[in-house]
């Protein structure tokens, strides 16, 4: 039983109107692990996460959380089952205070004391939020909003955490800080994490296993160690190619997985 992945996505196809955004994606998140999905802008990473968290219903395929099929469930039911989604671009509630944002993250919980404890706990991860507890979230910096978005998702005490590009628009130093916390959350609370990133280097150094997504399809998957060593990944995602090949030509080069 414990060998079963906590989250399993099988042959999922999702559409925006007539546009097929993901084309038969399968992936697995083992319990207690961090799995990353890499891909360029528009590859379909966000769509996969939206399909998992129930904001989008897939046309085909299944999503299983601890063996339960959740692909047709409403988003609030899925949150109740212990899955939290940190959306791309933070999406904090701008006029709500930091405290109220966190309380909304715990909307489904009724144990007041537990919620208060968990607020203290996320402040342990992100002390800067504590100083701003009564400020409206919209007045925080981008990095602080990302911290708040992650903290807010943790307030649900999730078993599975979906993270959509937490590094987006942040300084390298802040990215380091946030990824260190992501590792801590995984290690200390045993939360299984599905991490979507364009910042391949940070993601591969953080995660255990990785999938590479291109135009709605998984084109490669392996342990992060192996992916870090792979020529294709180095060239196309880590920018390790010689400088002359950058720019447009870089994308015309033949990738070995095609």
């Amino acid at each position: 039983m414990s060998d079963e992945p906590i989250l399993k996505v099988s042959n999922v196809e999702s559409y925006y109107g007539p546009i097929m955004a993901i084309r038969g994606v399968s992936l697995a998140l083992p319990r207690g692990k961090i799995v990353t999905v890499l891909g360029a802008n528009g590859a379909g990473k966000t769509t996969i996460l939206k399909t998992i968290s129930g904001v989008l219903d897939p046309a085909k395929g299944s999503v299983e959380l601890e063996g339960n099929q959740i692909q047709r469930m409403d988003a609030d039911k899925i949150v109740r089952l212990g899955l939290s989604h940190v959306p791309e671009g933070r999406e904090v509630f701008p006029f709500l205070s930091v405290r109220e944002n966190l309380q909304m993250g715990a909307y489904l919980r009724t144990d007041k004391d537990g919620v208060a404890q968990d607020i203290e706990r996320v402040f342990g991860y992100f002390p800067r939020l504590k100083e701003r507890i009564d400020q409206p979230a919209g007045s925080l910096s981008g990095g602080e909003q990302q911290m708040l978005a992650i903290s807010r998702a943790l307030m649900n005490r999730p078993k599975v955490l979906l993270l959509d590009e937490p590094s987006l628009g942040l300084s390298p130093l802040l990215v380091k800080e946030i990824f260190a916390i992501i590792r801590r959350v995984n290690a200390e609370q045993g939360v299984s994490i599905l991490l979507v990133e364009q910042n391949a280097k940070m993601a591969l150094e953080t995660a255990d296993y990785g999938y590479v997504l291109e135009v709605g399809r998984v084109v490669m998957d392996d342990t992060c160690e192996k992916l870090l060593g792979s020529k294709d990944i180095q060239e196309f995602y880590l920018g390790a190619s010689d400088h002359g090949a950058r720019g447009e030509r870089r994308w015309k080069k033949k990738k070995t997985w095609r």
Binding site: V79, F93, G142
Partner: protein
């Protein structure tokens, strides 16, 4: 001076009614980006509900009031479920047309059910006056102001201090994120319609002793409540109330002190002037989102 105070109180009372209708506009708009042009009609139907309970069935005023408010809350929820929810996501003008159509429908329906005569109910505030020296203030006007203040305090605590109230604000600010939190967004939107309709009903009941209950009363007042909401900065709850009071006072003062015809023009002139100086309205909030 006495005249001025009396006109000011009358204007404030009228403005409170505008403000309460405007508040319904704002609540619904913030949550769903739907401008409900039938908000005045919700008030009108509320007036007929209370007429039915008090005038026809002979219930006690307060019981009739409470039943009417509960009935309108349910009416608001049903309206949202049957008319608004199915067309959410359609172009904005389709939704606007649907609410305008709803207004027509409710006016006709009310005329068919309750007739087109002016109706009247007896309330505890119908005849009394408050005398302070030479100043005479009618209870019906004062009751509107006091009730509006009470309602404001109740709503303030509800929205700021309760879990559901906070969830409503959260849903209004970012519906997608509310889904991600597991907030039952559909229920929240239903309840917002319930509150808007209930508040409109309060306005209708409070207005009943001042004007008559008639199927067209909602149209006239709705048309004034809309600029009130804009004046306050469409999207601000205190703004809706303050905007309503400003429009009510201006209208009443203009009617009393200026030549005929200015009454209906002055509020709009002031509205235009405010919007030129402060395009977001008096209480308009500029939404910030940092990258």
């Amino acid at each position: 001076m006495l005249d001025f105070i009396q006109q000011f109180v009358s204007g404030t009372a009228l403005g409170c009614v505008y403000g309460l209708i405007a508040l319904g506009f704002v609540l619904i708009y913030k949550a769903t980006e739907v401008v409900n042009f039938a908000q005045g009609e919700l008030m009108m139907v509320g007036g007929f509900f209370v007429f039915t309970f008090i005038g026809l069935l002979g219930l006690n005023y307060w019981i009739g009031f409470a039943l009417a408010v509960l009935g309108m809350a349910a009416f608001g929820m049903v309206t949202e479920r049957l008319i608004i929810r199915p067309i959410l996501g359609y172009p904005q003008f389709s939704i606007v047309m649907a609410t305008i159509g709803l207004g027509y429908f409710l006016r006709s329906l009310a005329g068919m059910i309750w007739g087109t005569d002016d109706l009247k109910i007896d309330t505890p505030f119908s005849d009394g006056v408050l005398k302070i020296g030479d100043l005479v203030l009618a209870h019906d006007k004062l009751s509107v102001i006091v009730a509006t203040l009470i309602l404001c305090v109740v709503l303030y605590f509800f929205f700021l201090k309760t879990r559901m109230g906070t969830a409503m604000r959260a849903t209004s600010e970012n519906m997608l994120a509310a889904y991600y939190m597991g907030i039952p967004v559909k229920t929240v939107v239903s309840l917002i319609w319930a509150i808007s309709a209930a508040v409109a009903c309060c306005a209708g009941v409070l207005l009943a002793p001042i004007t008559f209950i008639h199927s067209n009363v909602g149209l006239a007042l709705g048309l004034k409540a809309f600029p009130a909401a804009v004046l306050g900065g469409f999207g601000s709850i205190p703004g809706a109330l303050v905007g309503g009071v400003i429009i009510g006072v201006l209208e009443t003062m203009a009617g009393f002190y200026l030549a005929q015809g200015w009454k209906d023009v002055v509020p709009y002139l002031v509205l235009l002037a405010v919007l030129l100086l402060k395009p977001a309205g008096l209480f308009g909030l500029q939404l910030r989102k940092k990258v």
